[in-house]
């Protein structure tokens, strides 16, 4: 597993396109929020500032890394490397886990640079070093589960449908399932399975994003926001990621045998 992790990570962080795509998204975000940036950096509420930044990061950047990760598993067959790797005694499950974690780690690097870069800037300008602590907590509880969730689907679903189609569907799903209010239309947003982390954001960091919406569809997925349901939400996202990953060997066998 460690070999696959190490080399998948290495190959991905070397991709210029990954840095260009993330750079473009961050630049766009910076331009859109340039006016309010001064106010944000002066805001003494470190926890709220870091939480709202995490929401923004988690809402926008997964579009980039979700699309980017979409060919990481299928490309082994496309490139013709899979036969060499499959003929080694290394376990297929271990290689898959290593590839998955290496991909996710590589996707998390630009996120960490952007997020902790902003946190450091804020901590210095507002004189609130505690922001770095909040940033670390938000990264672990909100941003990383989203990376692991998106990474699993981005790796595995293109075994079923072409990667370009996955990218289109993923972008549509991402905004539908995270950004649209349940009051406006039926959506999975603000539920336990919302990858931007509505429940932990609300319960642990005070962002009003989770819980039942009167009259909305899928309210069975929107229990009251409590510490237990916040942890449950993280657990459900990770369990779904594991479930999807566990289907990968069978899906690959369907293609290669």
């Amino acid at each position: 597993m460690s070999a696959a992790f190490r080399y998948e990570f290495l190959m991905q962080v070397r991709k210029r396109s990954m840095w260009l795509a993330n750079g473009a998204i961050v630049l766009l975000l910076g331009l859109l929020s340039a006016r309010s940036l001064g106010d944000v950096l002066d805001d003494p509420a470190a926890k709220a500032t870091m939480a709202s930044t995490a929401v923004l990061v988690n809402l926008i950047l997964p579009v980039g890394y979700g699309c980017f990760l979409a060919d990481r598993l299928v490309r082994d067959d496309r490139l013709g490397v899979a036969a060499i790797l499959d003929a080694t005694p290394a376990s297929a499950a271990g290689r898959l886990a290593g590839k998955y974690l290496g991909s996710c780690a590589a996707a998390a690097v630009p996120l960490a640079i952007v997020y902790f870069g902003f946190a450091a800037l804020y901590a210095a300008t507002a004189g609130r070093p505690v922001a770095l602590g909040w940033a670390a907590a938000l990264f672990a509880v909100v941003i990383l589960p989203a990376v692991l969730f998106v990474g699993a689907f981005a790796l595995v679903v293109p075994l079923l449908i072409p990667a370009p189609l996955f990218r289109v569907l993923f972008v549509g799903y991402w905004f539908w399932g995270n950004a649209i209010s349940p009051a406006a239309m039926p959506t999975l947003a603000s539920s336990l399975v919302t990858p931007i982390g509505s429940y932990p954001l609300e319960v642990f960091f005070g962002v009003d994003l989770a819980g039942p919406e009167p009259g909305a569809l899928f309210n069975f997925l929107r229990p009251e926001a409590t510490a237990a349901t916040a942890l449950l939400s993280i657990g459900v996202l990770l369990a779904l990621a594991t479930l999807v990953l566990s289907a990968a060997p069978a899906l690959r066998a369907r293609i290669t045998r």
Binding site: M11, L79, A83, I84, D86, A87, P89
Partner: protein, 295 residues
Amino acid sequence: MRIEISGLTKTYKGKVPALDGLDLLVPTGMFGLLGANGAGKTTLMRILAGLLRPTSGDVRIGGNDVTSRAGRQAVQRVLGYLPQDLGVYPDLSAREFLDYVGLLKGIDDRATRRRRVGELLEVVALTSEADRRLRGYSGGMRRRVGIAQALLADPRLLIVDEPTAGLDPEERIRFRTLLSQLAGERTVLLSTHIVDDIAQTCRELAVLAKGRLVFRGTVEDLTRRADRRVWSVVTAGPAPSGGTIVSALPVEGGLRYRVVAATAPTLDAESLSPNLEDGYLALSQPGPVEDAMRP
């Protein structure tokens, strides 16, 4: 390490069998597998490497049943495999790619792995290019990386599928020599449609056609299949018919054809000594398969 295959059949979904009840015994040493494109060679190689499950039949390598998971893993621990459709990661250098495969093959000690990778880069003459990304490598250079990865863990069983495709003449000769040197205590299964590669390296071989074994014996046995069937015809007119034309060489007064045919194609045809290629072509000419199977 013997390979014992009996009743091996592989049928891809909704297609004709790629392998059809194949029985074959491959002894230790160098062994050639010859056949036209689509004969089933690659399917057989992939089954032996543990990449494909057979539809039915038995395959044992060194006593391990490759249709079982444990057997496959046991074989893969001693296997070096060079696939026909070889690919590499363009974002890695040759040294990194070999290091990665070395790790997957269980060469855990870093110093051992680095030394082995260095030795093999030397063997395939890529030391000076070893730290360049594979993206910029030519097809022949990638093939050499593929050869190096197959040899990484000092395999007791080496399965090479069309290994010389894309290599220049010097590289081909060097690789063939290397394979012969490696044979000895190992089993080296060389699959190719290039007859000369077999002629220069193997004593024994099998020929597949449409998923079936049509010949198994020595190079001399196969060559003898074309005894009194190889002819030289010089003509300025139309090409001789009724046989398989092996070559056509421009000479004074027309073209000199080398023809494999059961009877002389023309009255003035001159009989020639056969070579392995002639023997291989003679197999595909009308005649009972049973006769071809007899050594």
